[in-house]
Protein backbone atom coordinates (compact mmCIF):
# COMPACT_ATOMS: atom_id res chain seq x y z
CA UNK A 1 0.00 0.00 0.00
CA UNK A 2 1.15 3.51 -0.75
CA UNK A 3 0.77 4.83 2.78
CA UNK A 4 2.88 2.04 4.20
CA UNK A 5 5.68 2.65 1.75
CA UNK A 6 5.72 6.38 2.40
CA UNK A 7 5.88 5.78 6.11
CA UNK A 8 8.71 3.28 5.62
CA UNK A 9 10.63 5.79 3.52
CA UNK A 10 10.18 8.56 6.03
CA UNK A 11 11.37 6.30 8.77
CA UNK A 12 14.50 5.45 6.78
CA UNK A 13 15.21 9.12 6.24
CA UNK A 14 14.75 9.85 9.88
CA UNK A 15 17.03 6.98 10.80
CA UNK A 16 20.07 8.08 8.85
CA UNK A 17 19.62 11.70 9.72
CA UNK A 18 19.05 10.82 13.35
CA UNK A 19 22.09 8.62 13.33
CA UNK A 20 24.08 11.43 11.82
CA UNK A 21 22.81 13.85 14.40
CA UNK A 22 23.48 11.40 17.17
CA UNK A 23 27.02 10.85 16.05
CA UNK A 24 27.64 14.54 15.64
CA UNK A 25 26.44 15.76 19.00
CA UNK A 26 27.86 14.64 22.30
CA UNK A 27 25.81 11.79 23.55
CA UNK A 28 23.23 13.05 25.98
CA UNK A 29 20.43 11.34 27.71
CA UNK A 30 17.80 12.29 25.19
CA UNK A 31 19.77 11.01 22.26
CA UNK A 32 20.60 7.79 24.01
CA UNK A 33 16.97 7.08 24.50
CA UNK A 34 16.31 7.61 20.83
CA UNK A 35 19.18 5.38 19.86
CA UNK A 36 17.88 2.55 22.00
CA UNK A 37 14.51 3.06 20.44
CA UNK A 38 16.01 2.57 17.01
CA UNK A 39 17.85 -0.54 17.99
CA UNK A 40 14.99 -2.15 19.83
CA UNK A 41 12.53 -1.59 17.09
CA UNK A 42 14.22 -3.35 14.26
CA UNK A 43 17.01 -5.91 13.89
CA UNK A 44 17.69 -4.62 10.43
CA UNK A 45 18.01 -1.06 11.72
CA UNK A 46 20.35 -2.25 14.40
CA UNK A 47 22.69 -3.81 11.84
CA UNK A 48 22.48 -0.67 9.80
CA UNK A 49 23.32 1.43 12.82
CA UNK A 50 26.30 -0.76 13.65
CA UNK A 51 27.60 -0.42 10.13
CA UNK A 52 27.35 3.35 10.30
CA UNK A 53 29.01 3.37 13.67
CA UNK A 54 31.93 1.31 12.42
CA UNK A 55 32.45 3.52 9.42
CA UNK A 56 32.18 6.59 11.61
CA UNK A 57 34.67 5.40 14.20
CA UNK A 58 37.16 4.11 11.67
CA UNK A 59 37.10 7.32 9.66
CA UNK A 60 38.97 9.26 12.28
CA UNK A 61 41.84 6.81 12.08
CA UNK A 62 42.46 7.16 8.39
CA UNK A 63 43.49 10.77 8.46
CA UNK A 64 47.15 9.76 8.31
CA UNK A 65 46.69 8.96 4.64
CA UNK A 66 45.98 12.63 4.00
CA UNK A 67 49.49 13.44 5.11
CA UNK A 68 51.06 11.37 2.37
CA UNK A 69 51.32 13.06 -1.00
CA UNK A 70 52.10 10.28 -3.42
CA UNK A 71 52.85 12.38 -6.47
CA UNK A 72 55.12 14.77 -4.62
CA UNK A 73 57.08 11.97 -3.03
CA UNK A 74 57.34 10.02 -6.27
CA UNK A 75 59.04 13.06 -7.79
CA UNK A 76 61.54 12.94 -4.92
CA UNK A 77 62.16 9.24 -5.14
CA UNK A 78 62.62 9.04 -8.86
CA UNK A 79 65.45 11.54 -8.78
CA UNK A 80 67.25 9.10 -6.51
CA UNK A 81 66.78 6.33 -9.03
CA UNK A 82 68.96 7.01 -12.03
CA UNK A 83 66.52 6.25 -14.80
CA UNK A 84 67.42 6.84 -18.42
CA UNK A 85 66.12 10.21 -19.51
CA UNK A 86 62.55 9.95 -20.68
CA UNK A 87 61.08 12.23 -23.29
CA UNK A 88 59.77 15.06 -21.18
CA UNK A 89 56.68 16.98 -21.99
CA UNK A 90 57.92 20.53 -22.26
CA UNK A 91 55.52 23.42 -22.71
CA UNK A 92 56.32 25.10 -25.95
CA UNK A 93 57.26 28.47 -24.56
CA UNK A 94 59.89 27.15 -22.18
CA UNK A 95 61.01 24.83 -24.98
CA UNK A 96 61.62 27.78 -27.22
CA UNK A 97 63.28 29.73 -24.44
CA UNK A 98 65.46 26.81 -23.54
CA UNK A 99 66.72 26.61 -27.11
CA UNK A 100 67.42 30.30 -27.08
CA UNK A 101 69.48 29.90 -23.94
CA UNK A 102 71.80 27.33 -25.57
CA UNK A 103 74.06 28.51 -28.34
CA UNK A 104 72.76 26.64 -31.31
CA UNK A 105 75.24 25.13 -33.68
CA UNK A 106 72.81 23.58 -36.07
CA UNK A 107 71.52 26.20 -38.45
CA UNK A 108 68.28 24.42 -38.75
CA UNK A 109 67.49 24.88 -35.09
CA UNK A 110 68.36 28.53 -35.15
CA UNK A 111 66.26 29.12 -38.17
CA UNK A 112 63.41 27.14 -36.70
CA UNK A 113 63.58 29.26 -33.58
CA UNK A 114 63.49 32.44 -35.62
CA UNK A 115 60.52 31.12 -37.50
CA UNK A 116 58.86 30.42 -34.19
CA UNK A 117 59.52 33.84 -32.75
CA UNK A 118 58.50 35.59 -35.93
CA UNK A 119 55.25 33.81 -36.04
CA UNK A 120 53.57 35.47 -33.12
CA UNK A 121 50.73 33.10 -33.63
CA UNK A 122 52.82 30.09 -32.69
CA UNK A 123 54.67 31.90 -29.93
CA UNK A 124 51.59 32.02 -27.82
CA UNK A 125 51.29 30.97 -24.20
CA UNK A 126 48.07 29.14 -24.92
CA UNK A 127 49.56 26.10 -26.50
CA UNK A 128 47.62 22.86 -26.49
CA UNK A 129 49.34 19.54 -26.58
CA UNK A 130 47.65 16.30 -27.50
CA UNK A 131 49.54 13.06 -27.11
CA UNK A 132 48.86 9.42 -27.80
CA UNK A 133 50.30 6.57 -25.78
CA UNK A 134 49.57 2.93 -26.52
CA UNK A 135 46.49 3.61 -28.62
CA UNK A 136 45.93 5.49 -31.85
CA UNK A 137 44.27 8.79 -31.06
CA UNK A 138 42.09 10.75 -33.47
CA UNK A 139 42.18 14.50 -33.01
CA UNK A 140 39.55 16.88 -34.39
CA UNK A 141 41.06 20.27 -35.06
CA UNK A 142 38.98 23.45 -34.94
CA UNK A 143 39.19 23.94 -38.69
CA UNK A 144 37.62 20.58 -39.43
CA UNK A 145 40.89 18.81 -40.14
CA UNK A 146 41.45 15.42 -38.56
CA UNK A 147 44.77 14.11 -37.31
CA UNK A 148 45.27 10.47 -36.40
CA UNK A 149 48.19 10.09 -34.03
CA UNK A 150 49.96 6.78 -34.22
CA UNK A 151 51.19 5.35 -30.93
CA UNK A 152 53.47 7.56 -28.86
CA UNK A 153 53.05 10.65 -30.93
CA UNK A 154 52.38 14.26 -30.00
CA UNK A 155 50.93 17.26 -31.67
CA UNK A 156 50.95 20.88 -30.48
CA UNK A 157 48.67 23.64 -31.64
CA UNK A 158 47.77 27.01 -30.19
CA UNK A 159 44.48 28.56 -29.22
CA UNK A 160 44.34 30.64 -32.37
CA UNK A 161 44.48 27.61 -34.58
CA UNK A 162 41.91 27.94 -37.30
CA UNK A 163 41.55 31.69 -36.86
CA UNK A 164 44.92 33.25 -37.58
CA UNK A 165 46.98 30.21 -38.36
CA UNK A 166 46.98 26.53 -39.06
CA UNK A 167 50.36 25.63 -37.64
CA UNK A 168 51.04 22.50 -35.67
CA UNK A 169 54.15 20.85 -34.33
CA UNK A 170 54.51 17.12 -34.67
CA UNK A 171 56.59 14.54 -32.82
CA UNK A 172 56.21 10.95 -33.93
CA UNK A 173 53.87 9.80 -36.67
CA UNK A 174 50.44 11.00 -37.72
CA UNK A 175 48.05 10.83 -40.63
CA UNK A 176 46.50 14.15 -41.62
CA UNK A 177 43.22 14.90 -43.37
CA UNK A 178 43.33 18.60 -43.98
CA UNK A 179 40.40 20.77 -45.01
CA UNK A 180 40.86 23.33 -47.75
CA UNK A 181 41.58 26.89 -46.70
CA UNK A 182 43.64 28.96 -49.09
CA UNK A 183 43.93 31.86 -46.65
CA UNK A 184 45.50 29.77 -43.91
CA UNK A 185 48.08 27.28 -45.09
CA UNK A 186 48.16 24.21 -42.90
CA UNK A 187 51.74 23.70 -41.78
CA UNK A 188 53.30 20.87 -39.85
CA UNK A 189 56.57 21.74 -38.19
CA UNK A 190 59.11 19.34 -36.89
CA UNK A 191 62.61 19.99 -35.70
CA UNK A 192 64.01 21.45 -38.86
CA UNK A 193 61.44 21.13 -41.56
CA UNK A 194 57.95 22.13 -42.48
CA UNK A 195 55.28 20.36 -44.44
CA UNK A 196 52.84 22.76 -46.04
CA UNK A 197 49.52 21.72 -47.48
CA UNK A 198 46.43 23.17 -49.02
CA UNK A 199 43.88 20.42 -48.69
CA UNK A 200 44.97 16.87 -48.74
CA UNK A 201 45.46 13.64 -46.86
CA UNK A 202 48.94 12.42 -46.14
CA UNK A 203 51.17 10.77 -43.57
CA UNK A 204 54.07 12.35 -41.73
CA UNK A 205 56.50 10.20 -39.83
CA UNK A 206 59.18 11.89 -37.74
CA UNK A 207 61.98 10.27 -35.81
CA UNK A 208 65.50 11.19 -34.88
CA UNK A 209 67.03 10.29 -38.24
CA UNK A 210 64.49 11.19 -40.82
CA UNK A 211 61.17 12.68 -41.71
CA UNK A 212 59.03 10.80 -44.22
CA UNK A 213 56.01 12.33 -45.87
CA UNK A 214 53.65 10.16 -47.89
CA UNK A 215 50.83 11.78 -49.83
CA UNK A 216 47.56 10.01 -50.37
CA UNK A 217 45.50 12.75 -52.01
CA UNK A 218 46.22 16.35 -52.95
CA UNK A 219 49.58 18.04 -53.03
CA UNK A 220 52.16 18.78 -50.41
CA UNK A 221 55.30 20.91 -50.21
CA UNK A 222 58.07 19.69 -47.96
CA UNK A 223 61.00 21.99 -47.20
CA UNK A 224 63.85 22.80 -44.88
CA UNK A 225 63.28 25.71 -42.55
CA UNK A 226 66.71 27.12 -43.19
CA UNK A 227 66.37 27.17 -46.94
CA UNK A 228 62.90 26.90 -48.29
CA UNK A 229 64.00 27.10 -51.86
CA UNK A 230 65.14 23.54 -51.32
CA UNK A 231 61.79 21.86 -51.36
CA UNK A 232 60.03 18.75 -52.49
CA UNK A 233 56.65 18.91 -54.06
CA UNK A 234 54.85 15.69 -53.53
CA UNK A 235 51.92 14.29 -55.43
CA UNK A 236 49.60 11.43 -54.61
CA UNK A 237 51.35 8.13 -54.38
CA UNK A 238 54.64 9.92 -53.73
CA UNK A 239 56.70 9.70 -50.64
CA UNK A 240 59.51 12.09 -49.75
CA UNK A 241 62.17 11.46 -47.20
CA UNK A 242 64.36 14.02 -45.47
CA UNK A 243 67.56 12.71 -43.97
CA UNK A 244 68.05 14.92 -40.92
CA UNK A 245 71.80 14.63 -40.68
CA UNK A 246 72.65 15.12 -44.34
CA UNK A 247 69.72 17.45 -44.99
CA UNK A 248 69.14 15.62 -48.24
CA UNK A 249 65.77 14.89 -49.69
CA UNK A 250 64.98 11.61 -51.41
CA UNK A 251 61.87 10.94 -53.35
CA UNK A 252 60.14 7.62 -53.73
CA UNK A 253 58.16 7.51 -56.91
CA UNK A 254 55.71 4.93 -55.78
CA UNK A 255 54.00 5.55 -52.49
CA UNK A 256 53.72 2.34 -50.51
CA UNK A 257 50.23 2.20 -49.00
CA UNK A 258 51.48 -0.36 -46.49
CA UNK A 259 53.55 2.31 -44.80
CA UNK A 260 50.30 3.72 -43.45
CA UNK A 261 48.66 0.38 -42.78
CA UNK A 262 48.49 1.43 -39.12
CA UNK A 263 45.96 4.04 -40.25
CA UNK A 264 44.15 2.39 -43.14
CA UNK A 265 44.02 -0.95 -41.35
CA UNK A 266 44.65 -2.58 -44.69
CA UNK A 267 47.46 -4.29 -46.54
CA UNK A 268 47.76 -3.77 -50.27
CA UNK A 269 50.19 -5.86 -52.26
CA UNK A 270 50.41 -5.51 -56.01
CA UNK A 271 52.56 -8.17 -57.55
CA UNK A 272 54.99 -8.10 -54.67
CA UNK A 273 57.53 -10.88 -54.10
CA UNK A 274 56.51 -13.14 -51.23
CA UNK A 275 59.67 -12.33 -49.34
CA UNK A 276 58.85 -8.62 -49.34
CA UNK A 277 55.28 -9.35 -48.30
CA UNK A 278 56.57 -11.36 -45.37
CA UNK A 279 58.87 -8.55 -44.32
CA UNK A 280 56.03 -6.04 -44.30
CA UNK A 281 53.76 -8.34 -42.31
CA UNK A 282 56.48 -9.30 -39.83
CA UNK A 283 57.31 -5.65 -39.21
CA UNK A 284 53.70 -4.66 -38.70
CA UNK A 285 52.93 -7.40 -36.20
CA UNK A 286 56.41 -7.30 -34.67
CA UNK A 287 57.27 -10.90 -35.46
CA UNK A 288 60.61 -12.51 -36.21
CA UNK A 289 60.81 -14.34 -39.51
CA UNK A 290 61.85 -17.99 -39.42
CA UNK A 291 62.68 -19.58 -42.72
CA UNK A 292 64.93 -22.36 -43.94
CA UNK A 293 67.88 -20.92 -45.79
CA UNK A 294 67.58 -23.42 -48.59
CA UNK A 295 63.90 -22.76 -49.12
CA UNK A 296 63.55 -20.81 -52.33
CA UNK A 297 60.43 -18.76 -52.77
CA UNK A 298 59.74 -17.25 -56.17
CA UNK A 299 56.12 -16.30 -55.94
CA UNK A 300 54.60 -12.86 -56.18
CA UNK A 301 51.42 -11.86 -54.44
CA UNK A 302 48.59 -9.55 -55.36
CA UNK A 303 46.18 -9.16 -52.49
CA UNK A 304 44.24 -6.61 -50.44
CA UNK A 305 43.14 -7.55 -46.95
CA UNK A 306 42.30 -6.15 -43.55
CA UNK A 307 45.04 -6.03 -40.90
CA UNK A 308 42.71 -7.07 -38.15
CA UNK A 309 44.11 -10.53 -37.56
CA UNK A 310 47.48 -11.85 -38.59
CA UNK A 311 45.97 -15.33 -38.92
CA UNK A 312 43.41 -14.06 -41.42
CA UNK A 313 46.05 -12.20 -43.38
CA UNK A 314 48.20 -15.33 -43.64
CA UNK A 315 45.36 -17.64 -44.58
CA UNK A 316 44.44 -15.22 -47.33
CA UNK A 317 47.97 -15.30 -48.61
CA UNK A 318 48.25 -19.07 -48.26
CA UNK A 319 45.12 -19.49 -50.36
CA UNK A 320 46.65 -17.52 -53.18
CA UNK A 321 49.99 -19.35 -53.14
CA UNK A 322 50.44 -21.89 -55.88
CA UNK A 323 53.67 -23.49 -54.74
CA UNK A 324 54.14 -25.77 -51.76
CA UNK A 325 55.04 -22.99 -49.34
CA UNK A 326 52.85 -21.91 -46.45
CA UNK A 327 52.97 -19.16 -43.85
CA UNK A 328 52.27 -19.71 -40.17
CA UNK A 329 52.17 -17.16 -37.36
CA UNK A 330 52.92 -17.89 -33.72
CA UNK A 331 53.02 -15.39 -30.87
CA UNK A 332 56.48 -14.11 -31.78
CA UNK A 333 57.28 -15.53 -35.18
CA UNK A 334 56.29 -15.64 -38.78
CA UNK A 335 57.28 -19.04 -40.15
CA UNK A 336 57.77 -19.74 -43.82
CA UNK A 337 57.91 -23.45 -44.56
CA UNK A 338 57.10 -26.23 -46.93
CA UNK A 339 53.68 -27.71 -46.52
Amino acid sequence: MNCHRIREMNRKKTNTRTIARFLLEKQDKEEKVMKDKIILNDEKSRKEFDAYLQVWERSANVKDFEKVDVNEDWAKVRTRMSFLPRKQRIPLRSYALRIAAILILAFGLTYFLLQLLNKSTIYNPDYYEIASASEIVDVDLPDGSIVSLNKNAKIFRNSDFGKTNRDVILEGEAFFKVTKNKDLPFRIHSMNSTVEVLGTSFNVKTDTNSIIVSVMTGKVAFYLNEDNSKRLELNPDNAGKLNISTKEFEIEQTFDPNSIAWYTKEFVFRNKPLEEVCNVIAKYYQLDIIKDDDLKINESITITCSTQSVQDVLSNINLSLTGDVELIATKNNLIIRRQ
Binding site: L24, F83, R86
Partner: protein
Protein backbone atom coordinates in the same frame (compact mmCIF):
# COMPACT_ATOMS: atom_id res chain seq x y z
CA UNK B 1 39.51 6.26 -8.03
CA UNK B 2 40.34 2.62 -8.18
CA UNK B 3 38.62 0.31 -5.74
CA UNK B 4 40.10 -2.50 -3.77
CA UNK B 5 39.84 -5.20 -6.39
CA UNK B 6 40.29 -3.32 -9.61
CA UNK B 7 43.99 -3.98 -10.01
CA UNK B 8 45.43 -7.15 -8.64
CA UNK B 9 49.15 -6.62 -8.48
CA UNK B 10 49.51 -10.12 -7.12
CA UNK B 11 48.34 -11.67 -10.35
CA UNK B 12 50.74 -9.61 -12.37
CA UNK B 13 53.64 -10.06 -9.98
CA UNK B 14 55.89 -12.09 -12.26
CA UNK B 15 55.36 -9.76 -15.17
CA UNK B 16 55.95 -6.71 -13.03
CA UNK B 17 58.99 -8.24 -11.35
CA UNK B 18 60.57 -8.80 -14.74
CA UNK B 19 60.02 -5.20 -15.65
CA UNK B 20 61.42 -4.08 -12.32
CA UNK B 21 64.53 -6.15 -12.89
CA UNK B 22 64.99 -4.38 -16.19
CA UNK B 23 64.92 -1.07 -14.36
CA UNK B 24 61.94 0.30 -16.25
CA UNK B 25 60.81 3.56 -14.77
CA UNK B 26 57.16 2.93 -15.57
CA UNK B 27 57.20 -0.26 -13.52
CA UNK B 28 58.67 1.50 -10.49
CA UNK B 29 56.21 4.33 -10.86
CA UNK B 30 53.31 1.91 -10.95
CA UNK B 31 54.54 0.05 -7.92
CA UNK B 32 55.21 3.24 -5.98
CA UNK B 33 51.87 4.81 -6.74
CA UNK B 34 50.07 1.64 -5.78
CA UNK B 35 51.79 0.98 -2.47
CA UNK B 36 53.54 4.07 -1.14
CA UNK B 37 50.64 5.54 0.81
CA UNK B 38 49.70 2.17 2.24
CA UNK B 39 53.23 1.25 3.30
CA UNK B 40 53.89 4.67 4.81
CA UNK B 41 50.82 4.57 7.02
CA UNK B 42 51.66 0.98 7.93
CA UNK B 43 55.20 2.02 8.91
CA UNK B 44 53.77 4.92 10.87
CA UNK B 45 52.05 2.43 13.11
CA UNK B 46 55.46 1.28 14.23
CA UNK B 47 57.16 4.63 14.39
CA UNK B 48 54.43 7.11 15.24
CA UNK B 49 56.31 9.61 13.10
CA UNK B 50 54.96 10.17 9.64
CA UNK B 51 57.99 11.96 8.26
CA UNK B 52 60.34 9.18 9.27
CA UNK B 53 57.88 6.64 7.97
CA UNK B 54 57.95 8.39 4.58
CA UNK B 55 61.74 8.33 4.51
CA UNK B 56 61.90 4.66 5.37
CA UNK B 57 59.50 3.72 2.60
CA UNK B 58 61.23 5.98 0.12
CA UNK B 59 64.51 4.31 1.03
CA UNK B 60 62.84 0.96 0.52
CA UNK B 61 61.86 1.80 -3.04
CA UNK B 62 65.26 3.24 -3.88
CA UNK B 63 66.90 0.14 -2.45
CA UNK B 64 64.60 -2.02 -4.54
CA UNK B 65 65.77 -0.20 -7.62
CA UNK B 66 69.46 -0.21 -6.75
CA UNK B 67 69.54 -3.90 -5.93
CA UNK B 68 67.25 -4.91 -8.77
CA UNK B 69 69.76 -7.30 -10.28
CA UNK B 70 69.60 -9.40 -7.16
CA UNK B 71 65.83 -9.26 -6.78
CA UNK B 72 64.77 -12.59 -5.43
CA UNK B 73 61.06 -12.51 -4.84
CA UNK B 74 59.33 -15.85 -4.68
CA UNK B 75 56.15 -14.77 -3.00
CA UNK B 76 54.02 -11.86 -4.08
CA UNK B 77 55.41 -8.38 -4.42
CA UNK B 78 52.97 -7.19 -1.83
CA UNK B 79 54.17 -9.60 0.89
CA UNK B 80 57.72 -8.70 0.02
CA UNK B 81 57.05 -5.00 0.43
CA UNK B 82 55.21 -5.36 3.70
CA UNK B 83 57.73 -7.71 5.14
CA UNK B 84 60.58 -5.38 4.16
CA UNK B 85 58.75 -2.50 5.76
CA UNK B 86 58.26 -4.46 8.95
CA UNK B 87 61.94 -5.37 9.10
CA UNK B 88 63.13 -1.87 8.38
CA UNK B 89 60.88 -0.42 11.05
CA UNK B 90 62.02 -2.92 13.64
CA UNK B 91 65.63 -2.18 12.78
CA UNK B 92 65.00 1.52 12.99
CA UNK B 93 63.33 1.24 16.35
CA UNK B 94 66.09 -0.91 17.72
CA UNK B 95 68.68 1.49 16.45
CA UNK B 96 66.84 4.42 17.94
CA UNK B 97 66.19 2.65 21.19
CA UNK B 98 62.72 4.04 21.44
CA UNK B 99 60.88 0.92 22.33
CA UNK B 100 58.64 2.78 24.69
CA UNK B 101 56.96 4.45 21.73
CA UNK B 102 55.58 1.16 20.49
CA UNK B 103 51.85 0.83 20.33
CA UNK B 104 50.50 -2.29 21.95
CA UNK B 105 49.59 -4.07 18.78
CA UNK B 106 53.04 -3.48 17.39
CA UNK B 107 54.56 -5.22 20.39
CA UNK B 108 52.39 -8.12 19.40
CA UNK B 109 53.82 -8.18 15.90
CA UNK B 110 57.30 -8.00 17.26
CA UNK B 111 56.92 -11.31 19.05
CA UNK B 112 56.91 -12.84 15.60
CA UNK B 113 53.36 -14.04 15.48
CA UNK B 114 52.77 -14.61 11.81
CA UNK B 115 49.07 -13.98 12.02
CA UNK B 116 49.46 -10.62 13.65
CA UNK B 117 51.51 -9.22 10.81
CA UNK B 118 48.95 -10.34 8.29
CA UNK B 119 46.11 -8.95 10.39
CA UNK B 120 47.87 -5.65 10.66
CA UNK B 121 48.41 -5.55 6.91
CA UNK B 122 44.75 -6.31 6.27
CA UNK B 123 43.69 -3.69 8.72
CA UNK B 124 45.86 -1.07 7.04
CA UNK B 125 44.50 -2.04 3.65
CA UNK B 126 40.99 -1.65 4.91
CA UNK B 127 41.80 1.76 6.30
CA UNK B 128 43.33 2.67 2.98
CA UNK B 129 40.18 1.59 1.19
CA UNK B 130 38.12 3.68 3.59
CA UNK B 131 40.39 6.65 3.05
CA UNK B 132 40.07 6.34 -0.71
CA UNK B 133 36.30 6.10 -0.34
CA UNK B 134 36.29 9.29 1.73
CA UNK B 135 38.55 11.00 -0.77
CA UNK B 136 36.06 10.09 -3.46
CA UNK B 137 33.08 11.73 -1.78
CA UNK B 138 31.47 14.65 -3.57
CA UNK B 139 33.35 17.88 -2.70
CA UNK B 140 30.97 19.54 -0.23
CA UNK B 141 30.29 16.27 1.50
CA UNK B 142 33.99 15.43 1.64
CA UNK B 143 35.08 18.73 3.14
CA UNK B 144 32.48 18.60 5.87
CA UNK B 145 33.12 14.96 6.67
CA UNK B 146 36.88 15.49 6.83
CA UNK B 147 36.52 18.58 8.98
CA UNK B 148 34.65 16.53 11.52
CA UNK B 149 36.45 13.21 11.40
CA UNK B 150 39.99 14.36 10.56
CA UNK B 151 40.14 17.72 12.22
CA UNK B 152 37.78 16.96 15.07
CA UNK B 153 35.52 19.97 14.59
CA UNK B 154 32.00 19.81 15.98
CA UNK B 155 28.81 20.36 14.09
CA UNK B 156 28.47 23.98 15.21
CA UNK B 157 32.12 24.75 14.57
CA UNK B 158 31.84 23.49 11.01
CA UNK B 159 28.59 25.36 10.49
CA UNK B 160 30.29 28.56 11.64
CA UNK B 161 33.38 28.09 9.53
CA UNK B 162 31.50 27.35 6.34
CA UNK B 163 28.53 29.63 7.03
CA UNK B 164 26.08 26.79 6.67
CA UNK B 165 23.24 25.67 8.87
CA UNK B 166 23.65 22.80 11.29
CA UNK B 167 20.96 21.02 9.37
CA UNK B 168 23.00 21.20 6.19
CA UNK B 169 25.97 19.73 8.03
CA UNK B 170 23.80 16.87 9.24
CA UNK B 171 22.53 16.26 5.74
CA UNK B 172 26.02 16.13 4.31
CA UNK B 173 27.29 13.83 7.05
CA UNK B 174 24.36 11.52 6.59
CA UNK B 175 24.99 11.53 2.84
CA UNK B 176 28.64 10.63 3.49
CA UNK B 177 27.69 7.82 5.82
CA UNK B 178 25.32 6.35 3.28
CA UNK B 179 27.91 6.39 0.50
CA UNK B 180 30.70 5.05 2.69
CA UNK B 181 28.59 2.30 4.13
CA UNK B 182 27.79 1.05 0.66
CA UNK B 183 31.42 1.24 -0.44
CA UNK B 184 32.71 -0.54 2.63
CA UNK B 185 30.10 -3.30 2.42
CA UNK B 186 32.46 -5.80 0.72
CA UNK B 187 34.93 -5.48 3.56
CA UNK B 188 32.27 -6.02 6.14
CA UNK B 189 31.12 -9.12 4.37
CA UNK B 190 34.64 -10.52 4.63
CA UNK B 191 34.43 -10.18 8.36
CA UNK B 192 37.61 -8.17 8.43
CA UNK B 193 35.93 -4.99 9.53
CA UNK B 194 34.20 -6.81 12.30
CA UNK B 195 37.47 -8.28 13.46
CA UNK B 196 39.20 -4.95 13.52
CA UNK B 197 36.22 -3.29 15.10
CA UNK B 198 36.54 -5.66 17.97
CA UNK B 199 40.09 -4.53 18.51
CA UNK B 200 38.68 -1.15 19.26
CA UNK B 201 36.28 -2.31 21.90
Amino acid sequence: MRDFNSYDLNADSKFLINRLKKGEEAAYELLFKEYYQLLTVFANKYLNDIENAKEIIQDLFVHLYEKRDHLDINSSLKSYLFRSTHNRCINYINAQKIRNKYADHVKQIDTGKENSLENEVNKTELEHALYKAIDDLPPKCQIIFKMNRFEGLSNSEIADKLSLSKRTIETQISKALKILRVKMKPYMALGVLILTFMQYV
